[in-house]
Structures are given as C-alpha cells and as structure tokens.
C-alpha cells in the first residue's frame, strides 16, 4: 500500500467569517488534516486574481479561498468580487490544462467551525487524490509552474484586469451573483485576452 500524497495547500481566509470559523474549529478541538497554510485577508474581495496563480506557481498543489456566505459579506459584496477573481483563475487553469478542482472557493460563517473542518477535510482528501501539481494533468511540473507564474503576471496586467472590472460591473448591474453567471461574465470579458496571453485550449472555467 502506498502512502497517500501529502498535498501542499495554501488558503486565503477572510478575517470575519472563514478565519473566525477556523479559530472556532480550534476552540472546539475539531481535528482536520494539517496540510493547509493560511494567509489572513480582511475580505475575500482583497483576493487579487494573481494570488492563487502565484501560489500554485510557488509550490502549492491546491489553493483554497474561504469567505462569508453569499449575502453575508462583512463588507457587503467582497465575496462576489472574489468569485470574479476565482472565475479568472479557473479560466486560466483550464487553459493551462490544470484540474479545476485544485482551486476551491467556499464559505463558512463565523459560527461554522465544523463546516470549515468539513470543507478543508474534503478538499485535502481531493487534493491528495489529485497528487502533485502536474502529475494528474500529465504535465511537466517545472514547466507548468513557470507558465503559472507567467499567468499570475498576466493577471496583474491591465488587459485582463480591465476585462475583470467590466465583468464585475455587469455582475453588480445584473444583480445575479450565481457562480456560473459570474463565470460566464468573466469568460465573455476575458477569454480573448486569455487566449492571446496564456494560449491553450479555449476552456470554459466553470462547470
């Protein structure tokens, strides 16, 4: 029997919900796998689309973003903006041939320590099944990380970000904050630029 792979997971947790949930999981002594490393941000709205890509480029096998439940953002709609950034990450991963399950954005309220534990336990298990970044995808890890680093740089570039902000504007205007709606908006606004910069197969990020 082979030992299951021990994935490296980087998490971005918002201060008000998911980070608090993680603390309360500790207070309740709920146990979960020790693979997650946490960067605290005040709101998932702070999540720059480049952060998850940079995390994968830098050595993570999987990235988790944890915020407040939709409609419960401490800053009103930061988690919807996080979904915009997340959609771009998924689009990019698809183009690079990386399994979309390596990036997860999910919610746990401050009162939901056990829920946080459930999410992380499940995600860690899935990341272990996927194995080292690139392996499951049949890609050369070093080359992939290099491409991810470039993609992160593109995500900091004006072209993609303009697409994102336009997608975000439409999201706010439309008032529909469902994941696939947001993903469609991001796809519509960024796909051309992504194809140009990142290349790869035109993959829709969501689904």
């Amino acid at each position: 029997m082979t030992e299951p792979y021990n994935p490296k997971i980087l998490g971005f947790l918002c201060n008000w919900c998911c980070y608090t949930a993680a603390d309360s999981a500790g207070v309740g002594r709920y146990q979960y796998p020790p693979n997650l490393r946490v960067i605290r941000i005040m709101c998932t709205g702070r999540l720059d689309p480049s952060f998850p890509l940079e995390g994968l480029a830098g050595g993570a096998d999987a990235i988790f973003v944890g915020g407040c439940h939709p409609g419960e953002c401490h800053y009103q709609d930061g988690n919807y903006h996080a979904l915009v950034s997340a959609a771009l990450v998924h689009e990019t991963l698809a183009r690079l041939g990386v399994n979309r399950e390596r990036f997860l954005i999910d919610w746990a309220s401050a009162a939901e320590g056990p829920n946080f534990v459930k999410i992380i336990t499940r995600f860690t298990k899935r990341a272990a099944e996927l194995g080292p970044l690139g392996e499951n995808e049949g890609l050369d890890p070093a080359a992939l990380r290099q491409r991810l680093a470039e993609a992160a740089e593109f995500a900091r570039g004006r072209k993609i970000r303009t697409g994102l902000l336009n997608a975000a504007k439409e999201m706010m205007k439309g008032g529909d904050f469902k994941r696939d709606t947001i993903a469609s908006l991001v796809h519509a606004k960024c796909d051309k630029t992504l194809a140009e910069l990142v290349g790869g197969g035109a993959g829709r990020g969501e689904g």
Binding site: K8, D23, I39, G78, R161
Partner: protein, 1021 residues
C-alpha cells in the same frame, strides 16, 4: 429598574471614581469597563495579586479555552491602565456617605517588598529559607515566604508572607534583603489605612469554598486520592505542581478509573447549602474532557443528581464531550467514599430504581460547590448591606445588581453562584449603572494614557523579533516550540527569537518592551493564538516600546495549528514553522502607518422594546446619551406582559409598567412603536439606520452604537394534544389563568407538567433555561392555592440552578411528585373519552420500574423559547448568528454581550434564553458596553485603509464604482482624473485593490508585496 431605584447623588457633582472590591474576573472586567466609560477605579484586592479563581483554572468550559490565556490580557490591561489604582493585600473597613460621595476606608497590609522597586526577578524566593504551602496550587506544592502567587501575576511584584517570614517573626534570616539587587525589601513597611473618596462601590469579592468538614465526609483529607475539583484543576494545568500530569497523589501513577462526584456541598440541606452552585456540572465535564486528553484509556464516570448544563451552547458541548470522551454518566449520589484493601476507593450509590451499586475507583474528584465569601459578614457590616439566608448579597429580581444600600452594587458569585460569562456580563452591567449614577462626574478624575513617541524606522533595515508561545501546554503540548524558535532564528532579518510560557502575561509584555529596545527591533512577530483576540494586546506593547502598532504580525499556531492537529505533533510543528516563516516574510514588508481619529455620534439605537430593550435604553439614556428605541408592536413591554408572578409572588407587570413609563417619559429617549429597522449602513461611531414606521414617513437616525434586544417567543407545540384538547396548555397560558380571579375550574384534581417540550430535542436543540423554574413557580402557586391538588412533573433534569433549588425543595415538600423521563422515552398523551375529558398521560416510572398512566385534568407543557428570526438584522449589520438562531457573541466567555462587529451589542432572549433578572443584568451590560465608544467620543480604527499611487492611477473610476463605503473618489487634476482614498470612510476590505486595472491601489498592512511575500514564503517550505 435597578438604576431607577438608586437615588441620584445629593448636591454637587458626584465623584468620578468607583471602588471595586475584588480582583477576580468580575472585578477586573468592571474596572476596565469603568475606565473606558471615563471613571477612575480603586481596585481593592485581598490577596497579593489580581486574577482571582479564574487565574487558577487550567481551562474553561465549554470551549476548553486556556483560562489564563484569555484572562491575562485583561490583567495586563488593568495593570497598565493609568486610571486603575490596584491596592493589593487590602480590605474595605468602612463605608460612609451617600451615593456619589462615599468615603471608603481601606486597610492595606504591607507586602514588605516595594511594588515600584521590585523587578520580579525572583531572587528573594530563591534565597528565602522558609517554605510555605503554595496556596495558588491548592497546597499541592510548596512556595516560599517571599514569593509571587503565579508567574503571570499582576502586579508583577513579589511579596512576603508575614505569618511565615523568619525575619518578621524571629528577627533572623533576612537573606532576601541581601539577595535583592533592586533593594526592594522593606521589613519596616507598616499596615496603613487609606481613605478614598468614591461615588459608587462595586462588590466583587467572589465566592468561598464549601467547608472542609463537608469534604471530609467524602474522604477528603483522609484518603490521598480523593481530590477536590480545585486540586484536580491544578493537576491538569501545565503550570501546576505536576507540570500538567494527572497523577494519583498516593502513588504518582496515572489513574485508570476516575469518578467525579457532583453536588458536594451544594443542594445539600445537611450542610446548610440547599442552593445549586450552578457551575460544577460544567466544570466537571471540562475536567473529565481534559482527563480524557491526558489518558485516552481511562474509565471516567460522572455522578450526577441532575445534569444542569443550561447555559448557551452548554448542552451541545456536554453531549459532544460525553460522546467523544466516552464518559459514563450515572444519575446517583454516592453517599460516601470508602477505602478498600487494594488502595482503591469504593463508592456506593442508589440508582433511579433504588438499586444499590458498588464500584471501585482509582481517583475520586469532588465537585466542590461555591459558598458565599468567607468575609461576607464583615463586608455586610462594613458596607451596611443585607445578606440573604445563604450569606450572599441580597438583591431583587428587578434590580439584580443593586444591594440594599443605594450606590453599592454587587456582581459575580457574591450575587449568587455563577459562571464566568454571567460574572463578566454583570461586570459590564454594573459599569453602566455606575456610569448612569455618576454621569456628571465622568472624566473628572481620569487621565489619558501616554505612550512614548514613535521611533521613526523608515530608513532602517528590517530587524524582526520572533516570540513563540507555549501557551502552557496548549501549543507546547503538541508543537515543538523550541524547534520553532530555533527555526525562526534562521529566517532572513530575524535578529532575535525566543519562546515564552505565556506570551500574553504582564511580565512577558515588560520583557517584550525591553527586548525591542535592547535589540532595536523594528518588526515584531508573535507566534501564539489568534490575532482576532490577542493582536490588540501586543500592539499596545509595541506602542509602549515606541513602535507603530502596524509593525506587528501574528502567526496563528494554536487555534489553527496545535488545537486542530493534536495527534500529529510532527506535522503540527512543520505547520507552525511554515506559519512563522510566512509571518516573518510579511513582517519584513510592514511599514508604520498613520493613525486616524474618527468622531462618534453620541447616541444609540436599541432594537426591541421588551424588558431587555427597555432596560438597555433607559440605562444608556441615564448615562447621558440620546437613544432611539424601535419596537415592532404598538405597545412596549414584550413577553414579560405574559407573566403574572415572579418566584417571589410579585407581579412583574407592575415593574414593567413603571419601566415603560420611565422610558416613555425620558427626555433622551425617542420611542418608535409599530416600527421596524429597514436598513443600516455605517460602522461603530457612525451608523445610519432607516426605520419604517406604520402610517408615518420612514425615519433616518444617525447613531454611534446599536443594541439588539429583539427577544423571542414561546415555542408552539404540535405534540401532546396541544391545540386538540382543552385540557392541554402551556406554562404561559397557565400563568395567565393563575393571574385571573378564578384560576382553576372546579374538579381539577390532577395536574401533570411535562418539561422540555420543544427544548433539548429535534425542534430546539438547546435548553430553554427558564422552563424548570417556571414549572416550579407555577406548581408552587397551584399548591398554595389548593394543597390537595396532585401535581406530577415529568422532567429530564430539573435545572433549578442557583437559589431556584429552594423552590424545587419547597415543591417536593408540598408533595409535588417529580419523575424523570429519558429522552428516548417521552411521556405519551392520549385523548380521554370525550373531547374535553381528562387526558391520559403514560410515562415510565423508574422507581416503580414500570409504566404508569395518570388521568390529567390539566396537562401543562413547559415549552421552550424560540428567538425572533435574527436573519434580516444579522444581514444588515453583518453579525453572525448561531445554528439555533441566536446572535453569536464576540467571545462566549469574556465578551458575552459584544457582537463581533464593533459597536453592536446584544441582550435578552436574542442572545439566549434567560430569566428576568438575568435579562436585566445583561441589558444593563449591553448598555454599559455600548456607552464606551460614546464616552470615548472618538474611535481609532486600524489603519488598514487603501491608498492610491497617483502615478499609476488612470482615473478609470472602477474603485469608486465598487467601493461599498464611498471611501474612494475620483477628483480632477490638471492632467486628468485621479482616485483618492477618503481614509475616514475606508474599512480596508481591499476590493478596490483587487479590481484596479493598473494595480495603483494598495492596502495598509495587507499590501500586495506583503501578501506576495507570504505566498513565496509558503512555497519555500
């Protein structure tokens, strides 16, 4: 109510100082709350240090939070506060004068070591020849005559036990004076009497212990392996006599079979304590859980009379602990403990069916009850206050924090046995009451805290100091803290790294200041618990050391590491190293940030006009602030209008009427009846709320703070033929009848009451706390009306906590029959012959060991409490709610009325089910806490705001579009348009930074470079 019955100070401006007697958690919290409200505090403590019993606890129920870790920041804060004068080894001798103008005489015993000169080095203890029992460790260890109670004690000064000291008693020795480099030893110190002028007095002397004769009855003192819970607590503690190992005193072996005996000295007429001590059921569960942590194999049995875990979330915590810890719970009360030949302890008990059981145990822990403090009578004489028959301070249901003497208040266990959250709540409440009483004296005797000038570090290379905390065994028991410390030393720019047993203690803070200075640190990383609770403490220490508070970063290696990977020490240690590396990486990019002060709108909004909301509104108004009270119904009063008597027979509606009148007539209160909160924006200090009013235009109110008192309703049962048979009613409906002129129809001979209808089950997962008391009250009312009436109460656990136990006893003495039913076997109720015939109640009687059927002329259901749906308000205010739909407080132990969003507070049934006296105290607490930002007049938010680089900004306006706070705006410049942050409005969410197309916007502390550095550092692991 409480506040109303305190006459205002006579003539002149009242004193702006308050005497707080007792330095336990209640006294310390009320002191801190009082100084925040603008009053000077004399904190008078009998022993050598503040901290009280909580400082001796290892953990606290239900979260098993490290007790000292959550208390220490408060002790440090009290020790640092220039407006709190701590007098140790002191007691109150007399109190003369009137509210607003008392003269207190305090006798201060000498410490024989100069508090100012003592550096806390401990040389005196080292050289002291005289051993004494270590009181802090329950005499399970020894200490010296020259000593400090515990290493994190505040004040951090040693003192000499006058009774033991060789020099003071026999004129010999005096070695400490030779050893003390600071020259702090003062054998010539004399007892002194200090006269203090204060406006009010808060009594928080804590509790006494059940006497040794009671303990001896259970073999304590006779058999070594019978321990009190206090002794057991010290054995569990990392800083205890065994370093946290639970061993049998007789053979120092790990006990394999442990028994916890409840109600030792409580609910026991033979020792004069009929009352329930209200905390032991919880602490026994906690201790059992920790014993389990220490030994996965030990057999652990808890002997209960009733399991009284009625606090918020307590039942769930108990059930989980019992399931996870695999504890055996026995309903029984072993009468005594016997020693048997093989060195084990024999317990004998009768079970519910009356059968006798025998079993041997390795260790017996006595859950020792609480008594009134030993100096209760002396205090009563000194302050001229009344005591109740159990020697606790006498108080009234409607003025729970007021003693019989105006201007003298009581909080904590001296008011009645209670736990930490209730004590802390009362502390907040009494601060609010004092603040109302002495409103005109506010800020007359206080000074502002001064910090040294900030060092300019702009040109310096980062010099990072890393402090890794053991947190007793909370971190150190899992993570190899020294390895993490050594690892930290290898990280770039780290010039200093060390480990501390408790990083949050006062001596560590002083140490931190010294280290920062000595090593010229300009960034500080503490690897310990969570920044959510402890960052402010360390940031204050940075300011003490002349560093900007933004130069601080925490690595969470407890809540998110050692506590959640308890069985994987190696992996947890790796994770802790990674967390430290990432924190250091971020710290290297931290810069000093300018502080800003924002004004506060000095008014409050209270949502809900029931007992809680009315009390809170009145207290805030009496403290001098405008208050808007929003009530959905046409009239004020809420659910108390449905009660017709309290447990003493008074009609609460009378008190309520008086309260409503006072609120309606108060010049500073605006009542909006038939109204509803439609929208809220803003934040602490600057809320704007839209109130929809029936038949009127909506009202827009600006206010600085918000109190939620939205209340609850009775659960509407669908079971037990409720609504089908006229014979079935709820306790509230019975109350209503009992208030009517002819309460009972003729021919009613048998009444049955069923407890926990809706509660503690599938409908409401929690205990509704008040139903047992209400059933007892109504049973007594019925019995007093008609002594021949047969009453049977079917219950799961009679939760007659505190002095309610008297009612339980009285009911039994009057012949009320109590029969326990199991959760899986609830009573069955079937319809009688006709629609209005008596109903048949069938239940299993454990004593008879068979099913019994009773024809009930009246079946009364003790239904639970359902909170008003909190979701809409929760969404508007961004505050969390629990799975049970109660608002979730910021910290269940130490911030029981604060919600996690600054400036929002909760009280009453919206927080959790509770009785009237508890509601009033909590509402007063919410009012006291809510007035803190108002009294301060300004807030200093964390400077994590956005800033725009005008070079990169292209003026697209995306940030302005997306900012939820209108905190960033486009302005015209000669060349074009640029964005600019309005710092006062920015809350630091960072959406603007994430959406800026040219990355022209960055956030304070959460900078792009800082986060990228964390990401890179993550990858280096």
């Amino acid at each position: 109510m409480a506040s109303t019955k305190q006459p205002p100070p006579v003539g002149g401006v009242p004193s702006g100082a308050v005497l707080v007697l007792g330095g336990g958690v209640a006294g310390v919290q009320s002191s801190l709350d009082l100084t925040e409200l603008g009053f000077k505090v004399y904190l008078v403590e009998k022993s050598g240090a503040i901290g009280g019993v909580m400082a001796r606890l290892d953990k606290t129920f239900p979260t098993n939070d490290c007790s000292l870790c959550i208390l220490a920041p408060k002790l440090v804060e009290a020790g640092r506060d220039p407006n709190i004068h701590i007098l140790t080894k002191s007691e109150l001798v007399s109190l003369t004068g009137e509210p607003g103008n008392f003269t207190a005489v305090v006798r201060k015993e000498p410490r024989f070591i100069d508090e100012e000169a003592c550096t806390g080095c401990g040389q005196c203890t080292l050289y002291c020849l005289k051993q004494i029992g270590d009181d802090y460790n329950e005499h399970l260890a020894t200490s010296k005559a020259a000593h400090i109670d515990y290493s994190q004690a505040v004040p951090t000064s040693y003192y000499i036990d006058a009774k033991a000291c060789l020099r003071l008693n026999y004129e010999t020795c005096g070695l400490c004076a030779v050893a003390c480099q600071a020259g702090a030893i003062r054998f010539d110190q004399k007892e002194e009497e200090v006269e203090l002028r204060v406006g009010a007095v808060v009594l928080a002397p804590g509790f006494g212990r059940v006497g040794e004769e009671v303990l001896r009855h259970y073999g304590w003192g006779k058999y070594e392996d019978v321990l009190t819970a206090f002794e057991h607590e010290r054995l569990m503690c990392a800083s205890g006599p065994t370093g946290g190992e639970i061993v049998r005193p007789s053979d120092e072996k790990h006990p394999k079979k442990i028994a916890f005996l409840q109600c030792i000295g409580s609910r026991d007429e033979t020792c004069g304590n009929n009352y329930c001590s209200s905390v032991c059921c919880m602490y026994a569960i906690k201790q059992a859980s920790l014993a389990r942590e220490h030994d996965a194999q030990a057999e652990i049995t808890l002997f209960y009379m009733d399991v009284r875990t009625h606090g918020k979330g307590f039942d769930a915590a108990r059930e989980r602990a019992i399931a996870e810890g695999n504890f055996r719970v026995v309903y029984g009360r072993p009468a005594k403990v016997e020693d048997v030949f093989d060195g084990r302890l024999l317990l004998t008990w009768a079970d519910d069916a009356g059968r006798h059981n025998y079993e041997k145990f390795d260790l017996v822990v006595l859950s020792q009850g609480l008594e009134s403090p030993p100096d209760a009578e002396q205090l009563s004489r000194a302050c001229r206050i009344d005591l109740n028959p159990y020697q606790f301070a006498a108080t009234d249901t409607y003025t729970p924090l007021a003693t019989s003497r105006p201007g003298v208040f009581v909080i904590g266990a001296f008011q009645g046995p209670k736990d930490i959250p209730d004590s802390v709540t009362q502390a907040g409440g009494v601060a609010g009451l004092c603040s109302g009483l002495l409103a005109r004296g506010r800020a007359s005797e206080t000074v502002r805290a001064e910090f040294p000038a900030e060092r300019d570090i702009a040109g310096e290379e980062p010099r990072v100091g890393v402090f890794v905390c053991h947190c007793g065994i909370n971190i150190g028991g899992v993570v190899d803290v020294r390895a993490v410390r050594d690892y930290a030393k290898t990280l770039p720019n780290v010039v200093y790294a060390t480990d501390n047993l408790y990083s949050c203690s006062q001596d560590t803070q002083q140490h931190l200041v010294e280290i920062i200075d000595k090593h010229r640190l300009n960034r500080v990383v503490v690897a310990a618990c969570t920044p959510r609770t402890h960052e402010p403490l360390f940031q204050a220490t940075l300011r003490d050391a002349g560093l900007n508070r933004s130069l601080f970063e925490m690595a969470n290696i407890r809540d998110q590491c050692s506590w959640v990977h308890m069985h994987e020490p190696a992996a947890a240690t790796d994770k802790a190293k990674d967390a430290v590396r990432m924190a250091v990486a971020k710290a290297r990019h931290l810069t000093a940030l300018a502080e800003q002060q924002l004004p506060v709108t000095p008014s409050a909004l209270v949502v809900g006009g029931g007992l809680a909301g009315l009390t809170a509104a009145l207290s805030i108004a009496e403290q001098g602030y405008e208050t808007t009270l929003v009530e959905r119904e046409r009239s004020l009063g809420g659910r108390v209008q449905l009660l017709t008597a309290d447990r003493h027979g008074h009609d609460p509606r009378e008190e309520l009427k008086e309260l409503v009148t006072r609120v309606e007539k108060h010049p500073r209160i605006t009542v909006c009846a038939e109204s509803k909160v439609a929208g809220v924006s803003g934040y602490v200090g600057n809320f704007t709320t839209t109130i929809d009013r029936a038949g009127q235009e909506s009202l827009v109110v600006n206010h600085g703070v918000t109190v939620l008192a939205t209340g609850g309703n009775a659960y509407v049962p669908g079971q037990y033929l409720y609504g089908t048979s006229p014979r079935v009613m709820t306790q509230l409906e019975l109350e209503h009848r009992l208030g009517a002129p002819r309460p009972l129809a003729k021919g009613i001979r048998q009444v049955v009451m069923i407890q926990c209808v809706g509660s503690r089950g599938e409908d409401l997962a929690y205990c509704s706390r008040v139903c047992c008391g209400q059933a007892l009250k109504n049973a007594l009312r019925l019995k007093r009306m008609d002594p021949e009436l047969a009453i049977t109460v079917l219950y799961r656990d009679m939760r007659a906590y505190g002095f309610l136990e008297d009612d339980y006893r009285a009911a039994r003495e009057l012949g009320v029959i109590f029969s326990r039913y199991r959760p899986g076997e609830p009573p069955q109720v079937t319809q009688g012959r006709g629609k209005s015939s008596p109903v048949t109640v069938t239940y299993f009687d454990p004593l008879l060991d068979e099913s019994v059927a009773v024809a009930a002329d009246l079946l009364v259901l003790s239904v639970g409490i359902v909170p008003e749906d909190p979701k809409e308000l929760a969404r508007m205010l961004k505050v969390p709610v629990t799975a049970d739909n109660f608002f979730l407080e910021a910290h269940v132990k130490l911030r029981p009325v604060d919600l996690p969003v600054d400036g929002v507070y909760v009280c009453g049934l919206a927080h959790a089910p509770k009785g009237m006296d508890e509601t009033i105290a909590q509402a007063q607490a919410a009012a006291g806490r809510a007035c803190q930002p108002l009294a301060r007049g300004s807030i200093t938010p964390e400077p994590i705001v956005s800033h725009v680089d005008p070079e990169k900004c292209i003026g697209c306006g995306a940030c302005e579009t997306f900012c939820p706070y209108k905190a960033i705006a486009i302005y015209k410049e000669n060349k074009g348009r640029k964005a600019k942050t309005i710092s006062a409005s920015c809350k630091g969410c960072g959406v603007c930074a994430a959406r800026c197309p040219t990355m022209a916007i960055d956030m304070g502390r959460f900078t792009l470079e800082g986060i990228r550095a964390q990401i890179y550092a993550f990858g280096e692991g």
